[in-house]
């Protein structure tokens, strides 16, 4: 029998979706989910599970969908992952679980992420049945409220700890709230999955900058153990002339204004955003795609400029495809060397064409500028999305915390920093990575935090 094709994900039409901020991928119906699940071979030796950074029992939850046992399937996922509505949407499945499915060899892996999302959407608003150990009233703090801290908090709360989350911004969620746009990850879903955490008895304190409002030393006096999940939120700049002209944004500022502050609904919301007509986005990661697609929805003609070729684009394939469907142009092997402006406003990006040289230590071919190939791309807005680094605030007030030369926190194999009882995980340790890796780190750190406290 020939292998059936994956059930496609229903999506908003590209022409329509560039006029709104509603979710692009609409989710499977029950019927579609049953059909997709029926393709799963229920392998005796399921390779898919190793592909998931938190080792969800994928075979089991898909088996439960096959039997129509959606609630059981949902709790099967929740044994390993507290936030399936988010991971089902934003995990790079094509390089993780789905890449490890036996059917991937035939190019038709089971749509594991979509099924995970289906179960989460189906069950998440029902009363939750979660077993927690008896409250032990031992206070533990998690700093930051991105996926790393959320996972650490959920797992510690289930073990009975009194968990307090501290967030600098006025809303929790980290990148889930301020970075990833509404049309990929609706904030309603983020808020709901975070609310389920409050139901576990976790306290969330916003507007608290650890290192300023409270120092780490102060927290250490109040809490038995501390988890640092502060992310890698500080923006990188190109360092080329003209970069501070008006109209040039870091992707972080652009996305924070639009997502966190809801500037796309200005003036109903007070925070403004500049709506460019001709927008150049520099970079080709997830962040660049999100910025480009956001600018498109604000009405711009958008061009992505990237110094390497398509093969090296760090973004998810699906994101590039979505971007192209939405009419976003790509100028590859092209690198900005300067910005030019008039009366303080950007007018053009001067770029140089690149060619790929020999591979570097990591096997990536190094882009080399082609001399004399400079030209200008006219634009009225630029968004720089070339990566982020750890935020230095905690470092300023905690010089004793051991960091790498890049400013990432150094931890041992048990996620403990050089300060006893202080643990860390997520982007602050690894540099920019993924939501599920941050969730995984928070979850594992929770195990060691529990051991640390019980052993003490």
């Amino acid at each position: 029998m020939p292998l059936k094709d994956r059930i496609p994900m229903p999506e908003q039409d590209p022409k329509l979706r560039i006029t709104n901020f509603d979710e692009v991928a609409l989710g499977y119906t029950e019927e579609q989910a049953l059909m997709e699940a029926s393709r799963c071979l229920q392998c005796p030796n399921p390779t898919c599970i190793q592909g998931c950074p938190v080792n969800i029992d994928i075979k089991a939850f898909i088996g439960l969908i096959q039997e129509g046992k959606f609630t059981e399937g949902y709790y099967k996922i929740k044994e390993k992952n507290n936030f399936p509505a988010m991971t089902g949407r934003v995990c790079p499945q094509e390089t993780q679980c789905e890449a490890s499915c036996v059917l991937a060899k035939m190019g038709k892996p089971i749509a594991i992420g979509r099924l995970e999302r289906f179960l989460a959407d189906h069950e998440m608003y029902k009363p939750q049945q979660i077993e927690t150990e008896k409250k032990n009233h031992i206070p533990v703090a998690c700093v930051g409220t991105g996926p790393a801290s959320l996972a650490a908090a959920a797992n510690l709360a289930k073990k009975g700890y009194e968990v307090h989350l501290f967030e600098a911004l006025h809303l929790p969620g980290g990148v889930l709230s301020y970075g990833i746009p509404e049309f990929r990850l609706p904030k309603k879903i983020v808020n709901h999955e975070i609310m389920l955490l409050s139901d576990l008895g976790v306290f969330i304190h916003t507007d608290v900058i650890v290192g300023k409002t409270y120092t780490l030393q102060q927290l250490r006096r109040e809490f038995k153990s501390i988890f640092l999940g502060t992310g890698a939120g500080a923006p990188l700049l190109l360092g080329v002339p003209g970069e501070n002209l008006n109209g040039i944004f870091t992707a972080n500022e652009f996305l924070i204004r639009v997502n966190l502050m809801k500037a796309y609904r200005f003036p109903e919301f007070d925070t403004p955003i500049k709506k460019g007509k001709e927008v150049v986005v520099v970079g080709a990661g997830n962040v660049a795609m999100d910025a480009a697609r956001t600018a498109r929805r604000l009405g711009a003609n958008v061009t992505i400029v990237y110094r390497r070729s398509r093969a090296e684009m760090p973004s998810r394939a699906e994101e590039v495809q979505h971007a192209e469907e939405e009419g976003i142009h790509m100028k590859l092997l092209t690198n900005p060397v300067a910005f030019h402006g008039k009366d303080g406003w950007v007018q053009s990006v001067e770029v140089v064409s690149m060619q790929l040289g020999s591979p570097d230590e990591r096997g990536r071919r190094k882009p080399i500028p082609i001399e004399g190939s400079n030209y200008e791309i006219y634009c009225d807005q630029v968004i720089v999305a070339i990566g982020t680094t750890p935020n230095p605030i905690l470092k300023y007030s905690t010089p004793e915390l051991l960091l790498t030369p890049h400013g990432n926190i150094v931890v041992d194999e048990q996620y403990q920093t050089n300060i006893p009882g202080v643990f860390a995980g997520g982007d602050i340790v690894t540099g920019s990575a993924t939501v599920i890796e941050a969730l995984g780190a928070g979850k594992k750190a929770a195990i060691y935090i529990d051991k640390f406290i019980k052993g003490a």
Partner: protein
């Protein structure tokens, strides 16, 4: 939510408010500011902490646009949606020697806490307090108390000396040894001060009022050209070396949202009509 516990008009359109935030009051150091989100759909704006008591932080602000006007409308007992902080570098606790502190307009709200701090660190302070006209001269008494000499300038000559703060500074610099100039006020004024002291190699600090969003070093909204690179005012400032600031990048950035600010303001005016 943060309760407004007291409110006082200190000059036309300029308010002093007290807001309950004991944790911020406790952590506060002179030079710090807070990020205020007036209401759920509001904008995050930076405001200096003017003073503190056990329970409250005190803020002095001028009504200039929608957010500050909304704050100005709030009544005692009302709740401010969010206040984050304190943030920004604390001002160094250092004896510089002879300090000239220049405060222009509502900059006086930042000059008072920094002046008190410099005074407590044993500095000899001369103050130049500038305003457009007499009714806008702020905190004369508070600044008098901490200075050896207080010079008041008004643009229209309605009080003190007629002229700009830079005129008064020029005179001081030609007669006295000055170890530090600290200028706080409109960006054009701080630029003019920096231009005056640069050739004389007098150390000059300015308190930059860049447009901010996060206030924690993650958005880059507040960036400004500095030395050969770029700094984020919210975490490396707000007090920075006036001779290192690239004023040509700061000045246009301050008016980046002029059109949108006007829209917000006109809608607000319509609402209240």
């Amino acid at each position: 939510m943060y309760e407004l516990v007291d409110k006082e008009l200190v000059a036309p359109d300029i308010w002093k408010i007290k807001v309950r935030a004991p944790h911020i009051a406790k952590a506060y150091k002179p030079g710090n500011f807070v990020i205020v989100l007036p209401h759920e759909r509001g904008e995050r704006i930076p405001l200096t902490v003017f003073d503190t008591d056990e329970e409250n932080i005190h803020i002095v602000f001028q009504e200039v646009g929608k957010s500050t006007k909304l704050l100005g409308k709030m009544k005692v007992g009302d709740q401010i949606q969010d206040i984050m902080g304190p943030t920004g570098h604390a001002f160094p606790s250092q004896k510089f020697g002879n300090v000239v502190l220049i405060a222009g307009g509502v900059g006086a709200a930042t000059a008072v806490p920094l002046g008190k701090h410099l005074h407590a660190c044993g500095n000899n302070i001369t103050i130049i307090l500038g305003a457009r006209s007499k009714n806008l001269v702020l905190f004369e008494k508070e600044l008098q108390d901490i200075s050896e000499k207080l010079i008041i300038t008004t643009d229209d000559g309605s009080y003190g000396v007629k002229g700009f703060v830079t005129d008064a500074l020029k005179e001081i610099l030609s007669n006295e040894v000055v170890d530090l100039v600290l200028a706080i006020g409109p960006a054009v004024m701080m630029k003019a001060v920096s231009d005056l002291t640069r050739p004389l190699k007098v150390k000059t600090l300015v308190s930059l009022n860049s447009i901010m969003v996060c206030g924690t070093g993650m958005c880059g909204a507040c960036r400004v050209g500095y030395k050969d690179g770029t700094v984020l005012t919210c975490i490396e400032g707000p007090e920075l070396d006036g001779h290192m600031v690239d004023w040509n990048t700061l000045l246009p950035r301050l008016s980046m949202y002029k059109e949108e600010e006007a829209i917000s303001l006109s809608l607000l005016d319509n609402e209240s009509r």
